[in-house]
């Protein structure tokens, strides 16, 4: 589904990430493991097309990201890639419903209220459609963040440290949520984490080593 080759990323001339090769099949679930500072977030940003690597190639769903102009890359990201950020980052001034509609609008896809309600129902938060983010519990907010990431039926679902700072029960919930939602839309799932608790749950592991 995606293929990274000879990937190198450097900040100010200092190499922070090197991936000789990594391929993932459509629908596969992968765990990116590594200690803090090993470049997990950088790798995720490169996969998301948020960051262009210093060298090497990134192909997603048959598309070479380097070949896309900035605006086309933004559009590609909006349509095909869903991202769940560690700190969720819902739009505080918009309702849950509008947060999801915003994801559709910004991706350039038609706004589809029925799809939004469908996703909210699947995630059991349809009752909160008109609530503002600050009115939600953490668990509800996390569901909304996942809902926002999958509302456009992405081919690739990325999650950055989705379980850090969560107790065991919530950690389990968060993992189940991502796993089931990725399955529901057939997306390839990549979870970047240093959390050892979900290590056992996934067989595909991509390990990044910390740098001295």
């Amino acid at each position: 589904m995606f293929a990274l080759r000879e990937l190198v990323h450097a900040y100010d001339g200092r190499e922070v990430l090197r991936v000789p090769e990594w391929r993932a099949a459509q629908g596969a679930h992968w765990l990116v493991l590594g200690p803090s500072g090993s470049g997990k977030t950088t790798l995720l940003h490169i996969l998301a097309g948020i960051l262009r690597p210093t060298s090497g190639s990134v192909g997603i769903a048959g598309q070479d990201l380097a070949a896309l102009k900035p605006a086309a890359l933004d559009r590609f990201r909006g349509e095909h890639i869903g991202i769940v950020l560690q700190r969720l980052h819902l739009m505080p001034s918009l309702t849950v419903m509008n947060n999801l509609l915003l994801a559709q609008y910004l991706s350039g896809l038609p706004r589809d209220g029925a799809r939004v309600r469908e996703v909210l129902t699947t995630l059991d938060i349809s009752g909160k459609a008109d609530a503002y983010p600050h009115e939600l519990s953490f668990g509800q907010a996390q569901r909304v963040a996942v809902a926002r990431a999958v509302v456009n039926r992405p081919k690739l679902l990325l999650a950055d440290e989705p379980t850090s700072n969560l107790d065991d029960a919530r950690c389990e919930q968060a993992y189940e949520l991502l796993d089931s939602q990725a399955r529901a839309c057939g997306a390839t799932l990549v979870i970047a984490t240093h959390d050892q608790r979900i290590r056992a749950r996934m067989s595909n592991r991509f390990e990044l080593r910390g740098r001295p």
Binding site: A71, D74, G78, E79, L85, L94, N98, S107
Partner: protein, 405 residues
Amino acid sequence: MNLATVSLAYLRARALNTTLNVLLLALGIATITLLLLTTSQLEERMQRDARGIDLVVGAKGSPMQIILSSIYQLDVPTGNISWKQAQELARHRAVKTVIPLALADNYKGFRIVGTNHDYVKHYNARLAQGRLWQAPLEAVLGAEVAMRTKFGPGATFIGAHGMGVGEGEHMHEAHAYQVVGVLAPTGTVVDRIVLTDVTSVWAVHADQYDIRDVARIAELLPDDEKELTALLVQYASPIAAATLPRYINQNSEMQAASPAYETARLFTIIGVGVDVLRGFALVLILAAGLSVFIALYNALLERRYDLAVMRTLGASPAKLMVLMLFEGALLAGFGAALGIVIGHALTEALGVAFRAAKQVAITGWTWMSAELWLFALALGVGVVAALLPAWRAYRTDIAGTLARG
């Protein structure tokens, strides 16, 4: 869901700040709207009142005062002129028509103007009720006077000496006026005066002659005692403008005043004040622009994660830039709309106060094309204030921002 929804949601989330900015801008716009409406209406009214009058001749004194007192019925007259000299002037070959004016009294602040039927004709005033005066002490009311006094034909009233309420207090109780007609509204000075014959004014003020037969006042009063306040003159030819005023000023005890020149002079005097106010309003608008800028810039700092997240959701940098510009324009648009509404309301309030003081009529319920420019100016200020925040939004480093957040 579109950029407008997002902008509005953000403005709502910062309601206090938004209100402050909108009000600040509205104040500046309201001030300019008020100035635009009042000056243009004043100018138009004054031009309409003076139309067709080439020269005003009164007693020696300030030419401006002559114009204000005889055409606009605002100031007190400079004094009286003799009827005989007025007769001579009317026969001058440079003069086409002369309309006599005799001012002395008022009824509840409305001036009683002694004149002839030519005055009514000059302002194209039509009768709404009754007829024009035919004898001394018959009066015809201007539309506003009739409305305010609720007088119609048949009503009688007593004039008070002087040009306004509270002045003199001497009532001419021996000579009651009878209303014989009411004029339709003209939108000119005629609306707010009481019209009567010149001889009525003579009759009211000829107490020492003890004239019982008021109808024959013109015959009974010695010519030397007949006086007028001013003459509204129309030239026989444009050349008269070069000679007649000087002829009058040098060869008579009268003073000639040009309405065109004096009103222009009046507007340059008022203009200084208007310019100061306009400058003040522009400063207000600039301050509002600065405030919008600060608000958007601060909002941008609070919102940099939101902007980065919008980028991850597929928004292009250009879209974020448009979002910020739109927000600036939205603030400015609200401010301008509110300002224009307030400006109209203030003008109307001023008009009501003016009407109560029996001064020039002004209304807030009229629109000017210049207001569109005002709206455009406000939008421009909003967009310019949003430029730098918009540029910063455009340049948002998503990966860097998210990595820190």
